[in-house]
């Protein structure tokens, strides 16, 4: 192995130590909300953890007319306001801000991108950066194409080091637009240089699903159709659409949550063990799951999906308006704020096991959990009477809040006779690791700088998810099944409960 490709022997044994080559991160939309709330504070915290190498630089690029000094002030204010770690360390912040600069870029002006190129060249020379570039699009999705075209036209895609582009979800609004976006990006960046961020995958507890499954020997043998009856995934929010009315009314729960977050959870629960926790291996296994999901077509959609919209109701003790009364929402909107569906994964491991997904807004509580429902014992050794209060075993992976895992099982009630009741054995993250977890963006930004795309979504993943979602979306737009309503603060329209009742099951109340 050439010396350049060998691991750095001095890095051995440095736990959690991951550091990249010096690079410049260009943040398009640097004066926007995402940059201020998430990106700049995450970069500051990475600097504080000594994860950014000497020479690393950030260039803010936006259409605002700002001086370098004004942008640094803006960055400083946002970091102070939104940093996960407080109080702010002034010397670290000052050193970080030294590496931050600003340039006005109008995305439609090639000259601005050429000026950006000159700035990057200057930084390469002064900060010993070997031409490594990361272009972060903290901008609305319609700008991605223009930005990538301008990057190429200005010659920014041909530097000597690596070049990566980071984009935020949604990755298209359907299969066609997702493919169009991928094709556009691929004209400038190879697939392994495109980092599609779904911040959900940066959450520690989501990553822990893989640790739970593949770092323990006792769960995998029962993790299949032989012992599992069904899987329920709940992604519930108690909030409404807040200020996102215009966006949400065009999108809906299916595309906003199910297409990405919920299907990502399905893949993590259902995937086969990857050879290693490594980008290609992990993403290959996830794609296999998505491709194995039985498509819902025609009448399947009416029988296996439920859509609903919240009306006025009470959440957390407060009266809240209905969806159509929210700002920037059409008064006759047909957009769903609740989606439930039943899907099957047609492979050896999961044949016949239904996966029930529900996601929505203005539900009674904010909770994301995965519940693995096991089959009943094959024989009632203790008789029907003794077992009447016993539920089947269930394993619940709670993603948020109260992150943890609980196992439900039967135990004998202390008494002279023999009665069995269900009890739970709980594990809570917060009582075992009372350590504040890093922000999802810290993890994902560092992964991107280092060049580890394991937790980013690959093009074929995106397309496979849209292939499943598109027919449902089309059917829903045609009014099949009809839009149900549910009072805010309830668990969706009645049809959601009926979806499981028809199978002899019921939703777990989280």
């Amino acid at each position: 192995m050439r010396v350049e490709e060998a691991p750095n022997p001095l890095a051995e044994g440095l736990h959690d130590y991951r550091v990249a080559d010096p690079a410049v991160m260009v943040i398009f939309g640097a004066t926007g909300d995402l940059s201020g709330r998430k990106l700049l504070p995450a970069l500051y915290n990475l600097a504080k953890q000594r994860s950014l190498p000497a020479g690393f630089a950030v260039v803010g690029a936006a259409k605002d007319e700002l001086t370098e000094q004004a942008f640094r002030k803006h960055a400083s204010d946002k970091i102070r306001q939104f940093s996960r770690t407080q109080p702010i360390d002034d010397r670290v912040l000052a050193a970080f801000l030294d590496s931050v600069s600003y340039i006005k870029v109008d995305f439609s002006r090639l000259e601005d991108f050429k000026a950006l190129g000159a700035r990057l060249q200057e930084l390469d020379n002064t900060r010993l950066i070997p031409g490594n570039r990361i272009f972060y699009c903290a901008t609305p999705p319609p700008t991605y194409e223009l930005i990538s075209v301008q990057i190429q036209a200005a010659g920014l895609s041909t530097s000597t080091g690596f070049r990566r582009i980071v984009i935020e979800k949604p990755f298209g609004l359907d299969l066609k637009s997702a493919r169009g976006l991928t094709e556009t990006l691929h004209k400038v960046f190879s697939e392994d240089s495109v980092y599609r961020i779904d911040h959900y995958l940066g959450k520690e507890t989501v990553q822990n699903i893989l640790a739970f499954r593949f770092a323990n020997a006792i769960f995998e043998p029962v993790w299949n159709t032989n012992l599992i009856d069904s899987v329920q995934i709940t992604v519930a929010e108690d909030i409404g659409i807040e200020t996102r009315g215009a966006y949400y009314d065009r999108t809906g729960a299916l595309r906003d949550i199910v297409q990405n977050h919920a299907l990502q959870l399905v893949t993590l629960v259902a995937m086969e063990p990857p050879l290693a926790f490594e980008a290609t291996a992990v993403r290959d296994e996830k794609v296999k799951v998505l491709r194995a999901i039985r498509p819902l077509i025609g009448e399947d959609i009416e029988q296996s999906t439920v859509r609903g919209q919240y009306t006025q109701g009470w959440v957390l003790g407060e009266q809240v308006p209905g969806y159509r009364e929210e700002p920037n929402v059409a008064t006759d909107s047909q957009t769903e704020t609740f989606a439930a569906l039943r899907l099957f994964i047609d492979n050896w491991r999961w044949a016949g096991v239904p996966f029930y997904i529900r996601a929505g807004k203005r539900l009674p509580k904010r909770i994301t959990e995965i519940r693995i429902q096991f089959k009943r014992p094959p024989h009632l050794t203790f008789g029907r009477e003794a077992m009447k209060e016993v539920d089947p075993n269930a394993l619940t992976l709670r993603i948020q809040p109260e992150e943890g895992i609980s196992l439900k099982f039967g135990a004998k009630v202390p008494s002279a006779g023999l009665r069995i009741r269900s009890v739970t054995m709980d594990f809570q993250y917060m009582t075992s690791f009372l350590v504040e977890a890093p922000e999802a963006y810290e993890r994902l930004l560092l992964d991107c700088v280092i060049g580890d795309p394991t937790l980013f979504t690959r093009a074929d993943e995106v397309e496979a998810a849209w292939m499943f979602i598109d027919p449902i979306e089309e059917s829903w737009r045609n009014g099949r099944p009809p839009l149900g309503v549910y009072p805010a603060g309830t668990w969706g329209p009645p049809a959601a409960a009926q979806l499981l009742q028809g199978d002899g099951r019921e939703w777990h109340r989280p």
Partner: protein
């Protein structure tokens, strides 16, 4: 003078002249009470979390307080049972006096967790059998770490016996009172301890930012070849004498083992400079150790590391140094005024310590007669307090600071970089070590290499 120190948290339970069985009974009652209270109307008690048992062995009141404070800090992040054992403590009544304090954490989104801090003051033969003393108290199924504050007696069987029940031993080689000798004892422990035992050193943890910063310089692919071109290393440290070169030896041992350098010779030069010569692949690497007076640093601390060389026709130079603006915040150690050392090197410290021990022994031999003369009490009516040897505190408590890095590659302008050092307070360092376990092959290799180098000093 030492006094009976009550732990600085209000104890839930306290007993004079007790047995370990009494302590266990008290623990059971405390746990049951907590479970009932927290369960409230719930049918089942909430789960009990515990990720480790931490045993702190201390020899002085100040260390005891530090151990209890550290236990509390650790329980705020890793639910643990802590046992603080003070040997040869002034004990009222029999041989064992015990306190149990609890630390309750109430995370916002999880049920409360109770961690116990058990303080044992032991006197007499029981103190020589630590394993028998604490074994019944250990939490089953979680690792047990023995944190020996001060200078561990590596030459005594008691320590090895105590280590039998432990998964890891934590020491601070920066706190050793006879660093040169004790450090060699620490290195020798690698050969005699049971194979499951992990060895952790708070001084090694303090070097982590230095190691990261140095490793970071060589991480870019275009600089990886520099590793094979290192020709000179300079290590500056605070303090005189070989005992203050432990951190310098560790960082050098780390580089030597990682990069395959073999020690050829080491020799003292003029002006207190010690030079070691290593060889790798036919190349010679010179490492110069230099004592540089830095008022803001404690004895033995690194003040700078410089690495220079050339590869593929390009020269490079890396300089990492402690922020020189850091200010001293702790007073001078008090024992120096009592026992003149004649110098701050190892020999001087050893001499001072011997004098101090002699002073204590003389006092101790005549303690009863002096006490009765002073108080007028009949023999046995009251007990004199034990005397204390003032010890040299090798580490200062001030900590938060930054590393300044200067990089020069080829003819380019130097690049300056600032990185934060986290708090070097004991709880933070201990947490960092224990959260990743105490088995660290890199440390073991570096320790062995450093010990080889120290021998040549």
């Amino acid at each position: 003078m030492s006094a009976v120190v009550t732990p600085d948290v209000t104890p839930e339970w306290h007993g004079d002249d007790v047995s370990i069985r009494d302590v266990l009974d008290a623990l059971s009652q405390i746990r049951e009470r907590f479970d009932r209270t927290e369960a409230g109307d719930d049918e089942h008690p909430h789960p009990r979390s515990c990720v480790m048992t931490l045993i702190g062995v201390v020899a002085s009141a100040s260390h005891e307080q530090l151990a209890v404070r550290t236990s509390r800090a650790i329980s705020a992040q890793h639910p643990a049972q802590s046992i603080v054992i003070r040997e040869d403590a002034p004990v009222r009544g029999g041989h064992l006096e015990a306190w149990i304090a609890t630390e309750v954490q109430r995370p916002a989104e999880a049920c409360a967790t109770e961690c116990e801090i058990i303080t044992l003051h032991v006197r007499g033969a029981a103190a020589e059998h630590l394993d028998a003393l604490v074994d019944p108290l250990l939490v089953s199924g979680v690792p047990t770490y023995l944190w020996w504050m001060g200078t561990p007696p590596f030459d005594k069987r008691d320590l090895l016996e105590a280590l039998r029940i432990c998964d890891g031993l934590v020491v601070d080689s920066a706190q050793f009172e006879r660093p040169y000798h004790t450090f060699r004892g620490l290195s020798a422990l690698l050969n005699v301890a049971h194979h499951r035992l992990g060895l952790a050193d708070l001084q090694w943890a303090r070097l982590k930012p230095w190691r990261e910063t140095i490793a970071q310089f060589f991480t870019p692919r275009d600089r990886r070849s520099f590793l094979g071109g290192i020709a000179e290393v300079g290590v500056d440290y605070e303090g005189d004498g070989r005992g203050n070169r432990i951190a310098a030896a560790l960082i050098t041992g780390w580089m030597a083992t990682a990069l395959g350098w073999n020690l050829k010779r080491a020799a003292a030069g003029p002006g207190g400079v010690v030079v070691a010569h290593y060889e790798a692949g036919g190349r010679s690497i010179e490492v110069a150790f230099r004592s540089v007076r830095k008022e803001h640093l404690a004895a033995g601390e690194l003040s700078a590391v410089r690495i220079a060389g050339a590869a593929r026709g390009t020269t490079f130079r890396l300089s990492v140094q402690h922020d020189p603006e850091r200010m001293r915040s702790t007073p001078e150690p008090s024992y120096r005024s009592l026992h003149t050392t004649g110098g701050e090197d190892d020999a001087g410290i050893e001499l001072a310590e011997r004098r101090a021990e002699w002073h204590r022994d003389v006092l101790h031999e005549n303690l009863d007669s002096l006490h009765h003369t002073a108080t007028g009490d009949a023999p046995g009516e009251s007990r004199p307090r034990a005397s204390t040897v003032f010890r040299f505190d090798r580490r200062r408590q001030d900590s938060t600071t930054v590393l300044l890095t200067m990089i020069e590659v080829g003819e380019g302008a130097p690049l300056r970089h600032v990185q934060q050092l986290e708090g070097e307070d004991v709880p933070s360092l201990l947490l960092d070590l224990l959260s990743t376990g105490t088995h660290d092959e890199v440390y073991n290799r570096s320790l062995a290499s450093a010990a080889e180098l120290v021998e040549k000093f």
